[in-house]
Symmetry: C2
Subunit: 324 residues, 2 copies
């Protein structure tokens, strides 16, 4: 089976690791191919290095190098390089860059400078993490740089800051007026992205941020059309449980685009292509969608086994939801 | 007093730290200003980062961050970033880059990419190491990239390799046919370099490699003329003791340019501007120079005190050697 997923960082990565666990544990599905289309709107250049937080979280999580407690960054990390950068007065200092993580950024930046595309650089990074052996392919949504900026307003007036500055430095404390995907007007989907959706047997939307992760990927020219046109059922997992985001600042993101922070309202963002919507059991009764099937399940990814169960439930829903 | 020195890496840095110790311990000289013109021919771009080994050795040694036993690199160094680069298959792997050291290279590369000159970036790095407080200024010989390449010959024929590849990877094991300072034809002396020689009270040549350190600096347009024309006495310290280089592969470098590996022959490379030549006691009797005064002293920089004594002896020789 060919499964394609759109994903942001931590939530998406944990879900997809659970999916791979579920597939491997299911004899008929073990040889399934999983293609992940990763959000690159979070990407940022720091100290001249190209940092792709969502792609790296996917690689580290699926490859076994992730800091489990944190959900992002490397296990057994140290911060000696950043200590030096601080001593030299190099800026910015609000984005934590571990030493092992910096190794990834240096390798990627070198390859990009040598003329490789982000797709090609990501393929090289993924090899080290053993993803081909797991039948997992990670594709950036686009090889063109796209950076999500956030328009905020304070006493000094309105200004746009990089998504990471808003998310990490400000902890989303200043209300977002709107999000701008800088570079999206010149972006095209990376090689393989549209075909991975068109030719999939199942398309899954993990519980990633609907605005700044999935929403950004949906803005890449052709992606939304591919989702509407694919013969594969498209099933999503709600990132909102009981009116609250499971993780991160999805509530602040939804407020900025005028969408209620509920499982049903998030499904509305996908209504033109969504066939199935997995929600938390407590939300199941209140969510009614005109053309997507809704199913309630425990949705907290408390550990790997829970993530595998949720992923299995999403896949089951998809397999029951043949497109007409 | 204004003292200007031309310097390569380890030997030059240890000598100059000794000089600063000597100056600080001498009441009349404590407020002397020391300007160091550093060789940048060893510079190399690795993993997209600009690495300036000689400048960094000067900064780390004078700033108290050097790995004392090794003579280059940082004390308490680790190699986690490079381990990652190796795991990703990034190349080259033959040049050891420590984590703390990489912090320097990232900061410098970022500033260069932002449009700062190498002089300006070096000034910023030097601030962290407290060099202004020590009345020490480190200037790169040039802000234009100059890279020493080495023409070697093996079974595959003749080819040019970067100096670092010859020095570090090959350990100078393949005979050098000649050295080429790539970029020198477009290079100019960095701001302050020529004036530091012209307006010095004393010019010193530490026991740095006469071919690939001092020799490269002498090739920067205007430097040699400034040394010939300055009113300051120019005194050097022999890097050769009893026909052997104290450190490094100076013998292989001298062979490539057809110069004997002796204290006297090295002085011959400087004969158009040299006023005093400090040699090892064992060489004193055999070295005769037509226009420079020769003095024998113990020249092994076994510790900081020994380096300070040698530097003091070089300075004394200079102060006795007024130019006509």
């Amino acid at each position: 089976m060919r499964i394609t997923a759109l994903a942001g960082g931590v939530g998406g990565a944990r879900f997809l690791r659970g999916l791979r666990t579920h597939l491997d544990a299911t004899p008929d599905l073990a040889d399934s191919e999983l293609t992940i289309i990763g959000n690159t709107g979070d990407d940022i250049s720091l100290f001249g290095l190209r940092v792709c937080p969502d792609l790296d979280t996917l690689l580290y999580t699926l490859g076994g190098g992730i800091h489990e407690g944190q959900g992002w960054g490397r296990a057994d990390e140290s911060h000696r390089v950043q200590g030096e950068l601080a001593a030299y007065g190099a800026t910015p200092q609000w984005f934590a860059l571990g030493d092992l993580d910096i190794g990834t950024h240096i390798a990627r930046s070198q390859w990009l400078a040598q003329g490789l595309s982000l797709s090609e650089a990501t393929t090289r990074l993924a090899q080290r993490w053993g993803l081909p052996d797991q039948r997992v392919t990670v594709l950036p949504m686009s090889d063109s740089p796209v950076e999500t900026h956030v328009v905020v307003e304070d006493a000094d007036g309105q200004r746009a800051v990089h998504f990471q500055e808003w998310w990490v430095r400000m902890q989303a404390s200043l209300p977002a007026q709107r999000f701008v995907a800088v570079g999206m007007d010149r972006a095209t989907a990376a090689p393989g992205v549209l075909d991975a959706i068109r030719h999939a047997d199942v398309v899954l939307l993990p519980p990633s941020n609907p605005v700044v992760s999935i929403g950004i990927i949906l803005g890449v020219p052709g992606v939304r059309d591919a989702l509407r046109g694919t013969a594969a059922p498209v099933v999503g997992v709600s990132p909102i449980i009981g009116g609250m985001p499971v993780r991160g600042h999805a509530d602040a993101c939804l407020a900025a685009i005028g969408v209620e922070c509920t499982a049903g309202a998030v499904a509305g963002l996908y209504e033109d292509f969504l066939d199935g919507w997995l929600v938390s059991q407590e939300d199941a009764a209140s969510v009614r969608l005109p053309r997507a099937q809704v199913r309630g399940r425990p949705l907290l990814m408390t550990d790997r086994a829970a993530a595998a169960q949720i992923a299995g439930a999403a896949l089951d829903l998809a397999l029951e939801t043949k497109r007409g």
